[in-house]
């Protein structure tokens, strides 16, 4: 197993996540795509951690941090989407253009 194959898989997942963030209109679907990008990053971290095999296992530890931060992000993100939905009865990111000049 080479490092390249894992990195290629991770970059494919990341690009698919970018496509999802750009193309989806429902805010929850955008958060799903962000979750894809985070899992791509975790795959990359663990692959390079397995390549270095350092004593501290930094790659795996930072993958764990990424998972924890991703969980926090989803919690806050869904709370914000919920609040926006309650106030404006839509979760469509196209209609939330109040801060757009």
């Amino acid at each position: 197993m080479t490092v390249v194959q894992f990195s290629l898989l991770a970059s494919a997942l990341f690009s698919i996540g970018i496509y999802g963030v750009l193309v989806r209109r429902n805010a929850i679907m955008v958060l799903l795509a962000v979750e894809l990008m985070l899992s791509a990053v975790a795959v990359n971290l663990v692959a390079f951690g397995a390549f270095w095999q350092d004593r501290l296992a930094s790659g795996q530890i930072f993958a764990l941090f990424v998972i924890a931060v991703g969980a926090a992000e989803v919690g806050i993100g869904l709370a914000i989407v919920l609040l926006v939905f309650r106030n404006r009865s839509t979760a469509n990111v196209d209609e939330l253009d109040l801060m757009k000049w």
Partner: protein
């Protein structure tokens, strides 16, 4: 390394199956017309990444993905879909009209990352070796204890922030009655 060498290693076949499942699932996550199906395809992708972690000897990370991402985050997404009353059936307005610029940007980014990875990390083998959870715990609580505390503080802040954001403000009469 030729393709024959690559295919001679049994782990690579496991990787190929997992990679196909993950990429197919990820593509369905961003293209599915049904919101709930998209979340369920995300489960397939995350399960594939757990398999990749097992393949790389990162057992603790793999089961953390299963517990946290598949167990908790996906349930949170399903609740979010339920509460925001997203259209549960097939919905044609889930995507923008202009998909091709987005696909072009995604392809360009993939090309950039894949090109640089292929140029710099060609044929470097991943070392085999399972990291034990005890070593991971020792490392977290000795070397990485400050980042760990920061992450735990972040989770606490996210917890309180989620409660504050999602609760309804009590009506003024209720406050006076209480």
């Amino acid at each position: 390394m030729t393709f024959g060498d690559w295919a001679g290693e049994p782990g690579n076949w496991v990787f190929a199956v997992l990679a196909v499942v993950m990429i197919a699932g990820a593509l369905r996550v961003v293209t599915s017309r049904n919101v709930v199906h998209a979340v369920l395809f995300l489960v397939a992708t995350l399960a594939g990444s757990a398999g990749i972690f097992l393949l790389l000897g990162a057992e603790f990370v793999a089961w953390t993905v299963v517990l946290v991402s598949i167990g908790a985050v996906v349930v949170l997404f399903l609740f979010g879909i339920m509460i925001t009353r997203a259209p549960l059936g097939y919905d044609t307005a889930l995507d923008h009209e202009r998909r091709w610029p987005a696909a072009l940007i995604a392809l360009a980014i993939f090309g950039l990352m894949a090109g640089s990875v292929l140029a710099y990390f060609e044929d470097i083998e991943v070392n085999e070796g399972i990291v034990r959870s005890s070593d991971l715990g020792t490392s977290i609580f000795e070397r990485f204890v400050i980042p760990f505390e920061v992450v735990s503080f972040l989770l606490l802040a996210a917890l309180i922030g989620g409660i504050v954001l999602a609760r309804r403000d009590p009506e003024p009469e209720e406050v006076e009655a209480a």
